[in-house]
Symmetry: C2
Subunit: 249 residues, 2 copies
């Protein structure tokens, strides 16, 4: 059975060359921070980049980017993303509001599908998606509806985080989803444990981002963010992660 | 409409004096670590304590406690929790297995309800529940079915974590659920921001737990864990949090 909405979504995303899902089995590992700095770093290099926040468990990229309430997507035969720091920016927060009321699972799926169907992305080299943590129904729906998503996995050096990441990787492999590799965020020592575990899983270890207390104080200030350890390390990691195969026009 | 299962669940929990849900809007803030050290700390004091891990997004208390695979709950007119470090211990992990396959929302709710219905807790002063992050369908189901749950909220000093916590608090207030207070975990500076925000929300600020790199290396080693900053600080926080009104027999 073919879901008629997949046709609409495919149409909406046809001018997007690569779709990168920044993902983590576990919450609180810095996934949104990685998605945001990766997007900013690519845009600065001259690529056309969209950042799409679908983390319904707590959308936060708008806070990291410090987007004022006055900056909103506009309506024009659909929803046109806001332009923020050179990025086409869209977040579930504009669709469901910043309210406390939780969405029931089916409502989240419906909101995601609706948002994918109506958002008018321009021509993009990269669409970076800030995913919800874990693999919920809604993530499965997203994977099914969008199809060609590449996964970029974020973990911390913590054994607890990586145990959850391992499960996610197993599942993504079962679903035959391409995995770009693993980024180790908030590293505070010289342990090679995560690198070794990543290689054992048959995945590419993309690099480590050292823990930097300045990251917290750069929330809401994108140019300051690019000057922190995560911003600077992302310059290196994104080459390993994306190969930057896309030619600039 | 009364769900017949609530009667069974009420019956199962009738010998439990207080039910404390350790909860956080955001993942990765150390919720499982707080739930585990709180449980260990209470048990050491002589209270009868159950620890119930229902974090289906990635159950991890069994890893923190270092429970060997040979220690399992047993069956006897229901499921009898394992005894670990003086705690009655039960985890969703024993019910759904440690597999990668994600549970669809409705399956998670069914697994939770089933687990609540069959687990034979002994006489307990405290049942500490390690909740899933956020407020999902399954959390709402749990609140509805168990009823008398008190919430203990965990955050980090990060603005991003606290923004999500605020939404959760708003929702818990709408649901008229009692909130014990807020614990600020992994504190690395002297900022009073979270304390002030907590008080502004009308909640009790229970204290801060300083960031301690030794916590990571004590995973799987409960007695070592009680000697780290989180273990030592929990001694103080639990007094503020629980008032220890329960009389020891």
């Amino acid at each position: 059975m073919i879901d008629p909405r997949t046709t609409v979504i495919t149409e909406r995303l046809k001018k997007t060359r690569r779709i990168i899902a920044v993902s983590s089995g576990k919450g609180g590992v810095g996934k949104s921070m990685v998605a945001t700095t990766l997007s900013l770093s690519l845009a600065k290099k001259g690529y056309k980049v969209g950042l799409f926040d679908v983390d319904f468990t707590g959308p936060s990229t708008h806070i990291i980017l410090g987007i004022p309430k006055t900056v909103q997507p506009t309506e024009d035969k659909g929803i046109v993303p806001a332009i923020v720091e050179g990025l086409e920016y869209m977040s579930l927060v504009y669709f469901v509001g910043d309210k406390a009321t939780p969405l029931r699972g089916i409502d989240v799926s419906n909101a995601l599908i609706e948002l994918l169907s109506v958002t008018q992305w321009g021509e993009l080299d990269f669409l970076i998606i800030d995913m919800p943590p874990g693999i919920s129904d809604s993530v499965l729906d997203l994977v099914r509806l969008v199809g060609r998503i590449e996964f970029l996995i974020v973990t911390t050096p913590s054994l607890l985080a990586f145990e959850v990441v391992k499960k996610q990787v197993t599942l993504l492999c079962e679903l035959k989803m391409p995995i770009i590799g693993v980024i180790e965020n908030m590293k505070a020592d010289n342990s090679h444990a995560i690198k070794q575990e990543t290689i054992q899983l048959g995945l590419k270890y993309l690099g480590a981002i050292d823990f930097d207390t300045k990251v917290e104080s750069s929330i809401g200030n994108p140019s300051k963010l690019l000057g922190t350890t995560i911003g600077e390390t992302m310059e290196q990691i994104k080459k390993a992660a994306l190969n930057e195969k896309v030619n600039l026009k």
